[in-house]
Amino acid sequence: MRERSNIGVGLCAAALLSCALLFASAATAQEWTTSLVDIHQGSPLSDRARGLGNGGYELQSGSWVSFTHWYHASWVDMHVDLLTQITPDTGILWGFGTGEQAEKYRIEPSLKLGFLTQIHPNPNSTLSLSVTSTIGGGLNEKPCEADYGDLGTYSVNCRLAAGMTAPEETLKYLVSAKPETMHLWLNYRLTF
């Protein structure tokens, strides 16, 4: 399923890139300008990863294990969005995310690609369409090694190691999430 999804995203990105190149070829000899559209840190996946750090449990000895240090990233995923204008009404939207990681999770770096185009149905109005696709940026939680003494050592979900779920079953609950892979934006602006 995941592989199929990746292929879909790849094809989509390739199509977007083709469109962008088509516009680019039509705009040869024109000077392209690139503008910074947005720069921010954090994302819904960053928030979700941080939420995993809430809680903890006691080991057999009674010493407290807090999840915080496992899910605390020293650097928060930064996203930079840029617009390269090809014609007065078209441009390529592109950008990247740095990703982030802590001891027990990783958000992969991401690449964003798309285009923006607009038409003017009349002099007072503008209809804009943008489509962007994101490659990468997935959140993947890592397992822990839990030593249960005589009962053995298991690869477990760090957060569920002290609960009643069988160690091997806890791995089913490792978080694996993808960012929003496709974003479609349609805007109509009327000036009066």
């Binding site: 449990y57 006691e58 080991l59 057999q60 000895s61 009674g62 294990v65 822990c144 090694e145 839990a146 030593d147 249960y148 003494g149 005589d150 009962l151 053995g152 477990v156 760090c158 569920l160 190691a161 002290a162 609960g163 009643m164 779920t165 069988a166 160690p167």
Partner: protein, 340 residues
């Protein structure tokens, strides 16, 4: 039926709830000879609760078990609530309650689901099923004397009774019934966890009281999967430490007992039920829950896990000769030693 090598050493099965222990002399008078003939003279009503077709296990159809009650009750350790997560509450483990399911003796109590009037075995069975709601609970009436069979998977045997007779014999002199023989054999081989109520005579496990000894206690000492369970008057916490209930037997000076002795809270003020009879089912339930988490663990491993994770910081003046390994902690028994 017991086949005894010495006529004077014939032990009687005796439920270990405190209320019944008060009537030692009377109870012995009832349990002696009539016990041996009970199988022959059962009323039709009683027979319905016993085993049929030569099988040693019977699940009474007349006595519903409170299997739907999956609420943490106020008499339970807070540990139980903390440990109950989604799904696994003893699933895949069989607890066999070897107890009284056929006598006419009943008494009142309330495990938080309303006052009931039940037999001793019905009470202990209900308690175990409330601690480990997903476990399979089987009832084995101890008056049959037939061997206890094991189910597929992990087995826990709950013994909330003792086998008393005149003090001074060695366990090898006792001609055990197939029932106790099988139980002792399982504890010896480590093929089932045996949770044994320590007794209510305020003596060390296996000690003499009124010229009698619990020979089942004595026979289980040193067996790898036997756990003696004493009663605390409350569930202990570090802020409110618990002490041994006044009636409970204690571990004593024998290191072999101390290393296999646990205590748990028996909050009779909330349930009306006192005695180490109601301590053993808690350990049976804990063992079932641990077994449902560690599905490949052996009875020996689970027994050791329970023993090695017992807490001593929740007890008043912890002393191994009183509390053995300490207060059983389900959450610690489920937790890793280390994680990275």
């Amino acid at each position: 039926m017991n086949i005894i090598s010495c006529p004077n050493s014939r032990p009687s099965r005796f439920p270990l709830n405190w209320g019944m222990r008060l009537g030692v002399a009377a109870a012995f008078a009832i349990l002696w000879a009539p016990m041996a003939s009970a199988q022959e003279v059962l009323s039709a009503d009683e027979t319905a609760a016993l085993c049929h077709g030569g099988g040693s296990i019977c699940v009474s159809a007349r006595i519903p078990v409170a299997r739907t009650t999956q609420t943490v009750q106020n008499w339970m350790s807070p540990d139980v609530g903390a440990a109950w997560a989604a799904g696994y509450k003893g699933k895949g483990v069989t607890i066999t309650m070897v107890d009284d399911f056929s006598s006419s003796s009943r008494f009142y109590g309330n495990f938080g689901i309303g006052t009931q009037y039940q037999r001793h075995g019905e009470w202990t069975r209900e308690e175990a099923s409330m601690i480990a709601p997903a476990a399979t609970i089987r009832s084995k009436d101890f008056s049959t004397g037939t061997a206890v069979s094991l189910a597929r998977g992990l087995n826990v045997l709950n013994l909330s009774y003792g086998m008393y007779t005149t003090a001074g014999y060695s366990t090898s002199q006792i001609g055990w019934a197939p029932e106790e023989s099988s139980i002792i054999s399982y504890a010896t081989k480590g093929s089932a966890i045996v949770s044994k109520a320590a007794g209510n005579d305020s003596v060390a496990v296996g000690g003499v009281t009124g010229g009698q000894q619990d020979y089942l206690d004595l026979a289980l000492i040193g067996k790898p999967t036997a756990i003696f369970v004493g009663a605390l008057s409350t569930n202990g916490t570090t802020a409110n430490k618990a002490q041994l209930a006044w009636y409970s037997n204690y571990a004593g000076s024998d290191p072999a007992v101390q290393s296999h002795f646990l205590v748990v809270g028996v909050e009779g003020d909330k349930t009306g039920l006192y005695g180490t009879s109601f301590a053993a089912p808690i350990i049976s339930g804990y063992a079932a829950i641990i077994g449902s988490k560690f599905t490949k663990a052996t009875p020996v491993q689970i027994t050791n896990d329970l023993l090695n994770t017992a807490r001593t910081d929740t007890l008043v003046n912890y002393d191994p000769s009183v509390y053995g390994k300490g207060e059983a902690s389900l959450s610690r028994a489920l937790a890793p030693v280390a994680i990275h």
